[in-house]
Symmetry: C2
Subunit: 202 residues, 2 copies
């Protein structure tokens, strides 16, 4: 099963997912490729695969992405398809942090095997405050992220779940609950085999 986590930049998706991975160690995480440079503390191959624009284009041409998006000019993000398919083949659940367009691509590619979760901020002002608090970014970059957030909000209706990140601990528990509940869904289990086992005495 794929758990897709979307939501505007600054809403805390990364933190919520990191905490989920601590609580659910058997959950894999898809590592995206990006053409942006690493922020302080980010590690290549862990937070992202940091690649050049040329390399990114090669990967697009080779069909190596499940989904990819150009955020602006030379800023690209993409989800390599190979680790996702490897996780599914191994029966491992995998979390993907992508935008609504990526979520749509995943839904098209994997149907009901993907659960789509939107992480929302408690309010617009809270999101603005969080993004302005990122002192590493220019006002221009922040404005672009806010414009992009508005696009994200227009697509909430395509998601299956909404988690409002007003309190981190609660948001983590809600995301974890979604994961556990999805594993219990009739379609996620081999219920006909279970049914056979339970009737085997007959």
């Amino acid at each position: 099963m794929l758990i897709v986590v979307s939501g505007p930049s600054g809403v805390g998706k990364g933190t919520v997912i990191s905490r989920l991975l601590e609580r659910q160690p058997e959950l894999a995480k898809s590592v995206s490729c990006t053409t942006r440079g690493p922020r302080p503390g980010e590690q290549d191959g862990v937070d992202y695969h940091f690649v050049s624009v040329d390399r990114f284009r090669q990967m697009v041409a080779a069909g190596e992405f499940l989904e990819y998006a150009r955020v602006h000019q030379d800023l690209w993000y993409g989800t390599p398809i190979a680790p996702v398919e490897a996780a599914l083949a191994a029966g491992t659940d995998i979390a993907l942090e992508i935008d609504y367009q990526g979520a749509r691509s995943v839904r098209q590619a994997f149907g009901n095997r993907a659960a789509l979760v939107f992480i929302a901020p408690p309010s617009w002002d809270a999101l603005v405050a969080r993004l302005q608090g990122r002192s590493t970014e220019s006002a221009d970059a922040t404005a672009k992220r806010l414009a992009s957030a508005k696009r994200e909000f227009r697509h909430i209706g395509m998601f299956e779940y909404v988690v409002v990140n007003d309190e981190l601990e609660r948001a983590v528990i809600e995301l974890e609950s979604i994961l556990i509940a999805e594993r219990c869904r009739l379609e996620s289990i081999d219920w006909q085999e279970l049914q056979r086992q339970l009737s085997s005495e007959a």
Copy 2:
């Protein structure tokens, strides 16, 4: 939202629900009516409303049940509709412990506002062992419960979730996760209002 918990007699539905209520104190529980006598430790009005067959028939005639079923001869169970409607009107979630036929009635009456969960034993033998361990019952009563369990198993496919009660703590967490996840579902929240709020700066 209604959370409907079904599964064969002896699978531990009652225990799982009790533990869920401890963890989620704001969750209400529907108290069923039954014409059987109380088992040791059961309290009238808490575990069940214990009523006579005559009184039960009056309630059926008065349309006071959301669903009811005759298990055999003079053994009836029913879910009074008034507390369910009161809980929904107050915006409180409510748990119902009923059989697959009752679950079907709830689905017909409440559609997507109800989540249907089937609690399964880890195996047929485990269920037999549990029912035979109930020293308060005759071999005949146990045989009837096992026959009824087989009917339940044939209807697993109509449920949305399956929780296998091989380990109580895990089953409780799975049921709680289903409750929390269902509250996060797009249809459970006023997402258009959230969307308006998040765009209110524009």
